[in-house]
Amino acid sequence: MSIRSDAALPSVNTVYDVNRIREDFPILKQIVHGKPLVYLDNAATTQKPLQVLKELEKYYYTMNANIHRGVHALSQEATEAYEGSRIKIKKFINALGKNEIIFTRGTTESINLVAQTYGRKNFHEGDEIIISHMEHHSNIVPWQLICEERKAKLRVIPIDENGELVFEEFEKMLNEKTKFVSIVYASNSLGTVNPVKKIIDLAHSFNVPVLIDAAQAVNHLRIDVQELDCDFLAFSGHKLYGPTGIGILYGKVNHLDTMPPYQGGGDMISKVTFEKTLYNELPYKFEAGTPNIAGAIGLGAAIDYVEKIGIENIAKHENDLLEYATEKISELKGLRIIGTSKNKISVLSFVLENVHPHDVGTFLDFEGVAIRTGHHCTQPVMDRYGIPATSRASFGMYNTFDEVDVLVHGLKKILEVFG
């Protein structure tokens, strides 16, 4: 789709036919305020391809039934599809077994699950839990809650002006009191990709387990939990071109086995009497109640879709877009990019001198451009840079170089008005 015929052709060759991919995303054909939609809010949520939408439709049209223990045909079919998705996810992140894959509502719930079960059991007074300054609120608040309850201490790895972790500070922070490290793979407001392998190896040398928040990484980087050797890893389906309300917690069996259940209810038990309840085997111990069956199946379809295109190809395309966009917007007067790490996912956060991000967002909306403005649930990052908010453009597999031009054109118009 060409939005502007006069758009300068970038000198970058795309790795796949982006127009063919756009055909799979009917929502992208929309007109917003009289302009073609330019969707650059992919770090908040990605759009869903027809292949996912059809799978959701198929589930509700032809196989809706509750899973597990059903003897009838629909229940068995739904169970097979739900468990089939678990196997797809296991392969996608190269987990050792499907019992290490727990369905949750999303990254937030996955992190809360670990804090409330592993944390409650293992954290004691004076223990230290390490996170970083660039965490999303969902990887801060669950740890604050459990630290308060267990009288443990939260420690924060600082970041430098480029938005990179100060690794030496992390090295200094680790000690015999350290009981857990929870760290974001890629920052949602800065784009920084953290050296998680290095972090995990170092933490392990102190026998400290590590949780990786992969919410922003999962649609851009190939994740291999065995190679990373992380203890836990969390991500959401909706940032991986899948439905909302479904997410994953990966955990090593030795941890999951010894952790108490998160919620009590159906499906998570093997035997209930009023005297004593025996819990179900993994992963069902952590899946109380009827789960988001359609969501899980939709996530499986999304993974099929992403694998068909190839996550490495998607990453290459998005990196090209980021590079092109960074170069183009750097030319604008009074624009400052927030997050200038060399190793970034395709997130471009910036502030304009004299123009508040909220005004930028409203003006771009009238150009058909959807970006996110605000603190991006990372208020400590905003405080670090002394700014209330940023404007953030984030790219997905279906974005085009023409769309970057529309963004830049919109920003130029804003600078004219606010001059």
């Binding site: 305020h33 508040h356 909220h358 409203t362 009238f366 403005t373 008005v417 606010f418």
Partner: protein
């Protein structure tokens, strides 16, 4: 610029954003309050100097925010200077009705004077809080409620 956008960002608003009036602190104010919008991080502090006859002798603000919130605070302070506390409260209600579209198109530009420029906000529900933050904060200051106003 499209019509709706032009009505939101009128020249008066852009001017006040660029050069806000009464953008300073009043030392030893008789009344003050802080306001905060966690959604966009806008924050404002409103200072007042009210005399024994309940007349607003001086009013100012400080803080950071988008063009709408800054211009709203700036215009508010220009208009309220010299008004009585009672008049200020009435204007608060009128302004609130204007931006939340309680008046529809039945408002007279004469009655609102410069404040009429904020009528465009009605079309942008997400931005109503931006326009009303300073006013809510001012109202709290009048009643010397010094706890932070939070609008979201």
């Amino acid at each position: 610029m499209q019509q709706e956008l032009r009505e939101l960002y009128q020249q008066v608003i852009l001017d006040h954003n660029k050069a806000p009036r009464n953008f300073r602190k009043i030392e030893n104010p008789t009344n003050y309050a802080e306001g905060y919008n966690p959604l966009c991080g806008d924050n404002v502090t409103v200072y007042l100097m009210i005399d024994d006859n309940n007349i607003i002798q001086d009013i100012s603000f400080q803080g950071s925010g988008c063009a709408i919130s800054k211009a709203s605070a700036s215009l508010m302070t220009s208009i309220l200077k010299g008004k009585t506390v009672e008049e200020a409260e009435k204007l608060f209600n009128k302004f609130h009705d204007l931006v939340t579209d309680k008046l529809g198109d039945n408002f007279s530009v004469d009655e609102f004077g410069k404040l009429a420029v904020f009528a465009g906000v009605r079309e942008f529900p997400a931005r109503v809080k931006c326009a009303s933050l300073a006013w809510h904060t001012m109202l709290n200051a009048l009643h010397n409620k010094n706890e932070k106003v939070v609008t979201e």
